[in-house]
């Protein structure tokens, strides 16, 4: 709505020449937005590199990357749901639930590692499917369906694990999923952990799915006008369930990442992670009212969050002030995104 009352002050001049045309291509709204989305991130990084001498060291950059992995993957999962104008509060505890299920198959049952991986993703998809059915078939608002799922899964993780962490010591190679560095083995100067590699692979796959496939197209259409999509003869419920299922499966990957990183499934962890993930998505320019969004934006949003937290820690800012600053920056980042859009 807002940009309908677009003040016309920035309107183009009539009679553009060839030069103007070239300029227009470079400053094409879509291109410009993507470039500008980096701006907040870069501003933050420049600021912190002045504020803390160690900030730009490779080790620290790697650890920023590493710390973005879990939130980044969760944020990608959320992006799909949010583009459909839904919301998913269960991503954090679902991640934990998947980690616990991997633990059940690997540690309790002693099955081979790939079964554990498959189990995490399968149970993620299964729980996503349940949320999807609640939302699509029973018409329960996503906020409530996933709030309920959040609590349900939190409880189940504790029940299944007996409120004890499940360790993966008996599954050699499990911790490598997240902690080893395939890239580092090839290029020693870039000791980027696999978790980050997985984040980027998931992001690329998600980006392709969102932009190049029918699944992605329906994701946008659902968020834009569900009824119109239904009346176009599309099985809206099916696709909605599919989107939640897919998003759940991605949470399963996040579960593997965190379990592998901690070499254990920590059943009590997870609540609160959903807010970080949603914040990343929205900072990245995806609208909570649905119909728009990009994976690239989400990734940038996730990096803004982790750079911010890392930088404040590097500056040894007191924790209570870290919270204050994070709150302010979240608002600011989204505000800048809004200004950017309005200008177009």
């Amino acid at each position: 709505m807002a940009n309908i009352q677009n003040p016309a002050s920035q309107a183009q001049q009539p009679g553009q020449g060839a030069f103007a045309a070239i300029k227009a291509r470079i400053f094409h709204p879509a291109t410009r937005q993507k470039l500008l989305a980096f701006a907040s991130l870069l501003t933050l990084m420049v600021f912190f590199s002045f504020a803390s001498s160690n900030f730009l060291e490779i080790d620290n950059l790697v650890s920023i990357l590493q710390s973005t992995a879990v939130n980044g993957v969760l944020a990608i999962a959320c992006t799909f749901v949010i583009i459909t104008a839904g919301i998913d509060l269960s991503v954090g505890t679902l991640m934990t639930f998947c980690a616990v299920m991997a633990g059940v198959f690997l540690t309790y049952m002693g099955l081979p590692i790939y079964i554990g991986i498959a189990a995490a993703i399968f149970f993620g998809a299964l729980c996503g499917w349940v949320s999807g059915v609640l939302v699509a078939k029973l018409k329960i608002p996503p906020f409530i369906a996933t709030l309920g799922m959040m609590m349900l899964l939190k409880g189940l993780s504790l029940v299944i694990s007996g409120t004890k962490p499940i360790y993966f010591n008996d599954t050699p190679g499990f911790s490598a999923i997240s902690q080893d560095s395939l890239i580092g083995n090839l290029i020693p100067a870039l000791p980027i952990p696999n978790a980050v590699l997985i984040l980027f692979l998931v992001a690329i796959a998600a980006g392709v799915i969102l932009n190049k496939t029918i699944f992605g197209r329906y994701t946008f259409a659902l968020g834009s006008n569900e009824e119109a999509l239904r009346l176009s003869g599309v099985n809206v419920d099916f696709w909605k369930v599919a989107i939640y299922t897919f998003s759940g499966a991605i949470c399963g990957i996040a579960g593997l990442l965190i379990a592998s990183r901690l070499n254990s499934a920590q059943p009590a962890l997870g609540q609160g992670y959903e807010l970080d993930a949603i914040a990343a998505v929205v900072i990245g320019g995806t609208s909570l009212s649905g119909g728009t969004g990009t994976i690239l934006g989400t990734i940038i949003g996730a990096f803004i969050m982790s750079v911010l937290i890392n930088g404040l820690r590097m500056m040894s800012v007191a924790q209570e002030w870290q919270t204050v600053v994070t709150g302010v920056i979240i608002i600011l980042a989204v505000y800048m995104d809004i200004l950017r859009r309005r200008r177009q």
């Binding site: 183009q12 009539p14 259409a221 009346l231 176009s232 003869g233 599309v234």
Partner: protein, 523 residues
Amino acid sequence: MQQSKNPGEDRQSEASPPDYIMSLENVTKRFPGVLALDNCRFDLYPGEVHALMGENGAGKSTLMKVLAGVYPKDSGEIRIAGQLVEIPTPRAAQALGIGIIHQELNLMNHLTAAQNIFIGREPRGRFGMFLDEDALNRKTRDIFERMRLDLDPATLVSELTVAKQQMVEIAKALSFDSRVLIMDEPTAALNNAEIEDLFRIIRQLQSHGVGIIYISHKMDELRQISNRVTVMRDGQYIATVPTATTSMETVIGMMVGRQLDNSGAQAPDTSGNEIVLQVKGLQRGAFIKDVSFSLRKGEILGFAGLMGAGRTEVARAVFGADRIDAGEILVHGAKVSIRSPKDAVAHGIGYLSEDRKHFGLATGLDVKTNVAMSSMNRFLTQGLFLDQAAIRDTAQGYVRQLSIKTPSVDQPVRLLSGGNQQKIVIAKWLLRDCDILFFDEPTRGIDIGAKSEIYKLLNTLAEQGKAIVMISSELPEVLRMSHRILVMCEGRITGELSAAEASQEKIMQLATQRDDTRVVQAA
């Protein structure tokens, strides 16, 4: 510059004579990528009905929104009673005595009709703090009585049909007692009886010296109601002419810049063709009562009736958009089970909704996605990926074929004018290539040029062997296009007329043929 372009114009004086109640000069309004108003002008006398004409996207609504304080103008002058004014907000417009009925419905669905009408001007009770709901309903009832509208002020707007909602919008505009009243396609959703009521009200306002700006694509209305006509094209002012002394062909010529072919095609005989769709004993609550009909290949079947007759309901039910209580649907002679629009589309049935904003378009998405919306499967490569280039080409093809006015196929649909949006819905169903097509008010809000294109299109589709149901509240249109006409009243089919025997009178008679029990009540 304007004058040199429009030698036919009869009022050339630069300054606004004091008798204008309102005048606009050189108003320009630019949207990103679109020059919506280009040095446009307009003026209005008290007590006149001044029609504003132009093709879809000509800038009519934009001009009116500038007047109503919705959009700020980029440049230009607005005078009210000779006084130079700025209109930055809707509130300012109200204060200046400008009332508007917007082209799109702008109602709060969760509030009652009365609450909508007096929003922002609620009567207060004791202490000026609490709302006086009784006074609110009383005042609303007064307005409804003036309009001869039979509606309970306390009904929730969400429970009203589009037509009734439009009446509420009209009531709201009337309640302001404005000096200038803008009506942007007020009759698009109304039937003849309601239109008559509206015209009666307009004449009444006229006699009280209210100046009325009237936008419509229905030519016959202009004849009936307007004193002068101003034509716009591409955001520019073209000319102003007195209605009485100007032929409609001239006006249309100024609008589209060419002559239109208006000959009604001779209805072909389709009675021997294969029956592609047969509906038997369709039943849905109080809305559809035992509706049966059949549709032949190559036929255009008109559905006529008054507002709320149940035509939309029938189409939605056949299309699987609503559950039905009873009834059989046969496609190509075989009984089919249609539980959702998906099933309907799979059986080759398409439905163009009468309410494009809510049911037809994902307005936040771009033109090409909307065109491809129900045919995505067709653009799959390797069963997974979408062939973006093909989608784009296809969409561009339709933009050209239907003369859709849009900067590109990447433009979000919500930025297009109403008529162009309608064309995109049509493109969507053309692309889907269904054998059976329900067109529900296909020309609602469409300009005369585009209308004749759509008529041509319908005829072509019929010639190609498609079976078409055309629901329309414009009788001339039904009469002109249909090979056969079904008339509905209160959820039943009250009669069938062949193209040859049909006339406005006959249709109206069937359309008001109520149930016996009800006739007593109505009398």
